[in-house]
């Protein structure tokens, strides 16, 4: 039995490493659209509105509305920040009553149940960040059919299941910014590894795919070593990053963190291993978690949009959709202190380009 087990295990290992050695592990297989190497903005073909429409919504123009925000999961820094942005916007608008509720783990089934219950309880608007674009669609369509205004942020659903989606940054934009920062820090021929949440998380999978495509196009000599999974777990991320450092030794020049949990944990691993300055950490993260490492010069730069702004924009977009001031075919929307935001890709609202935090500016942010 034991022999069989070992043989089977060996077989699995061989089969899988042979078949999937070509592309970066953890990326999805959707088509990629890497940006130009020199920073020329990508050309976006104008697209007609492809979002959904709520069925016979009551006239909500200017009236007080109750809104529920259902992120992928509650209890992590990133969605605490978006939730704060939504609350800020609700306070500023004065006629929005917003609360955040959701599953304690990024689970498609539980998120669907939460939304379903809120549809039944009769809210006016739903804000969501989808754990799975397709799985969430039926329940969102049900919300639209009940006349509820539905707006997504952070992680999209299929377009026809919601009205608008506030996009923090285009996938290819993230891919370019991350790989450019990486190449700058570890050199054009450096080797690096990736720490991600899980391979099934759509946003992370998309970013990895776009990073891979952009690297191939613009930094062909960068050497990807491997991708490891670390959930959204601090200690696991730390252990995984430490193992990578131990495994590759001097060969490893950089670690890319794909989540706001993985990046600070990787920076901690580098610090505790005494590899500051030898192993670069690049990644998505919130400034508060990264301040200690940036101030100690262990991490040069951190890539992120401002999640507080993301939540803030989402709340404004929902209000505009409920008021009827944001209609299919519009090309921009006013979002309070953020000013005019552009409509792209049919029914997406672009928050802006990803922001790079560094030692000079990180002190100005608190989230």
């Amino acid at each position: 039995m034991k022999k069989k087990t070992v043989l089977l295990a060996a077989g699995l290992v061989l089969a899988s490493s042979a078949a999937y050695a070509a592309s970066w592990t953890g990326g999805d297989d959707l088509p990629t659209s890497p940006l130009a190497c020199d920073g020329t903005p990508g050309t976006v073909a104008a697209k007609p509105y492809d979002g959904g429409v709520p069925t016979n919504p009551p006239d909500r123009n200017g009236k007080k509305i109750t809104v529920v925000d259902i992120p992928k999961l509650i209890g992590i820094g990133y969605f605490n920040a978006t939730s704060k942005g939504i609350a800020d916007a609700a306070k500023e608008l004065g006629n929005v009553d917003a609360k955040t509720d959701g599953p304690t783990k990024a689970n498609i089934d539980e998120q669907i149940t939460f939304i379903d219950n809120y549809v039944t309880s009769g809210v006016d608007g739903i804000l969501f960040a989808a754990n799975d674009p397709v799985a969430i669609a039926p329940v969102l369509k049900k919300a639209l059919a009940a006349g509820i205004n539905v707006v997504g942020y952070d992680a999209n659903s299929t377009p026809d299941a919601r009205q608008w989606f506030v996009n923090q940054a285009e996938f290819n934009g993230i891919g370019k910014t991350m790989i450019d920062s990486l190449a700058k820090e570890i050199g054009e021929d450096g080797s690096f590894a990736i720490v991600t949440s899980t391979f099934t998380t759509p946003n992370q999978a998309r970013w990895i795919a776009e990073m891979s495509a952009y690297a191939e196009k613009c930094h062909p000599n960068l050497k990807w070593l491997e991708t490891v999974e670390a959930q959204e777990d601090n200690v696991l991320s730390f252990n995984q990053a430490t193992t990578l450092i131990n495994k590759y030794g001097d060969q490893l020049k950089g670690i890319v963190g794909m989540t706001s949990v993985a990046t600070p944990a990787s920076a901690e691993a580098v610090t505790q291993a005494g590899q500051c300055g030898k192993v670069a950490v690049v990644g998505l993260a919130t400034p508060n978690a990264m301040k200690p490492y940036v101030e100690k010069d262990c991490v040069k730069s951190v890539v992120l949009w401002n999640p507080v702004d993301l939540g803030y924009a989402a709340a404004y977009v929902l209000r505009a959709a409920a008021d009827g001031t944001l209609k299919p075919g519009d090309t921009s929307v006013k979002a309070g202190k953020l000013g005019e935001l552009q409509v792209v890709n049919g029914s997406e609202i672009l928050l802006g380009a990803p922001f790079v935090f560094d030692k000079a500016n990180i002190g100005q942010f608190d989230f």
């Binding site: 899988s16 783990k105 379903d116 219950n117 899980t198 391979f199």
Partner: protein
């Protein structure tokens, strides 16, 4: 086990359920509507289905922690059989369920042939089956099923969600098997005293094999319904389902030590948990608060039953 102790468990639970339903209906006028109740039936179908064979498993004194992983594996295989291997969807559905049965059979074989305690055996296969789902899927989802397939998870028959019919039919069958057949009596006998059961001529190993295989098959069926409900496959589907299932079963009065329990109890336990989740959400309690309440109810319900039956025994 006497009929009296039977009734005592169900009486306490039934009373609790009525109180809970009454209180929740006071809190929200959306709670006691036909649409909401039917919809809740849809949402609890997968957990409910798996809870049926789990009742058998726990009555034999065993446990099956791998059901959530089997669900994930079967969901992935449904997609792979249909999309990657190009089989007709009905064939893929049947094959996925069969694989669930095989996974359950493997659990059963490890438990009966190698005498590995069920908790350890299914802890190992929990990791193994989930791992196979991840490995086979390579984190890819399969989508784009034909419309007829969604009847199972999103459709209705005679105004009632399809999967609720399935759940009701299976619950009746399970109750009949457990309550009326030799197999049901063998299940209780195995859990009450395995050695005595063996001596009285019951084929203990065969009984257990059938039960674990059944748990696998039903998990496979739940997987098909789940895929139809959410219209995609992911390798992390069903993570943590085992705890929801076990909560419903033990809340329903099935003894974790074996030998005692009923399908009716399990069904009441299921409805109680689902009503709490839904009703508390409708009355404005957040998800984290709901989790706390369910934990408290679980402990208090068993506590009440214990105190009650002890007093009764004098």
């Amino acid at each position: 086990m006497t009929l009296r102790s039977f009734l005592r468990h169900e009486a306490v639970l039934g009373f609790l359920l009525i109180v809970v339903l009454f209180l929740l209906a006071q809190q929200s006028d959306k709670f006691f509507t036909t649409a909401n109740i039917l919809n809740q039936g849809r949402l609890m179908a997968e957990v409910g289905l798996i809870a049926l064979p789990m009742t058998f498993v726990i009555i034999t004194g065993g446990i099956d922690l791998s059901v959530g992983s089997i669900l994930g594996l079967c969901a992935i295989l449904l997609g792979v059989f249909w999309h990657n291997l190009g089989l007709p969807l009905p064939v893929a559905m049947v094959l996925a369920i069969v694989v669930g049965g095989i996974a359950g059979l493997i659990n059963g074989l490890i438990i009966t042939r190698f005498k590995v305690p069920p908790l350890i055996a299914t802890l190992a296969t929990l990791a193994l089956y989930r791992g196979l789902a991840e490995g086979i899927s390579q984190a890819r989802s399969v989508r784009g099923y034909p419309d007829w397939f969604f009847v199972l998870g999103q459709g209705e028959v005679l105004g009632v969600p399809t999967q609720l019919w399935i759940l009701v039919i299976f619950a009746i069958i399970a109750a009949a098997i457990l309550g009326l057949t030799t197999f049901g009596r063998a299940t209780y006998a195995v859990g009450a005293n395995e050695t005595a059961a063996r001596f009285s001529g019951i084929n203990v190993d065969r009984t257990k094999l059938l039960i674990y295989t059944g748990a696998g098959l039903i998990s496979g069926l739940a997987a098909v319904i789940f895929v139809s409900r959410v219209s995609t496959t992911r390798s992390d589907m069903g993570t943590g389902v085992e705890l929801d299932v076990i909560t419903a079963v033990v809340l329903g009065g099935t003894s974790i030590f074996g030998g005692r329990g009923t399908i009716i109890g399990t069904v009441v336990g299921l409805i109680l948990v689902q009503a709490l989740k839904n009703g508390l959400a409708l009355s404005g309690v957040k998800g984290d608060g709901t989790i706390v309440v369910i934990g408290l109810v679980l402990i208090l319900a068993i506590l009440a039953t214990n105190l009650f039956s002890r007093n009764g025994d004098g």
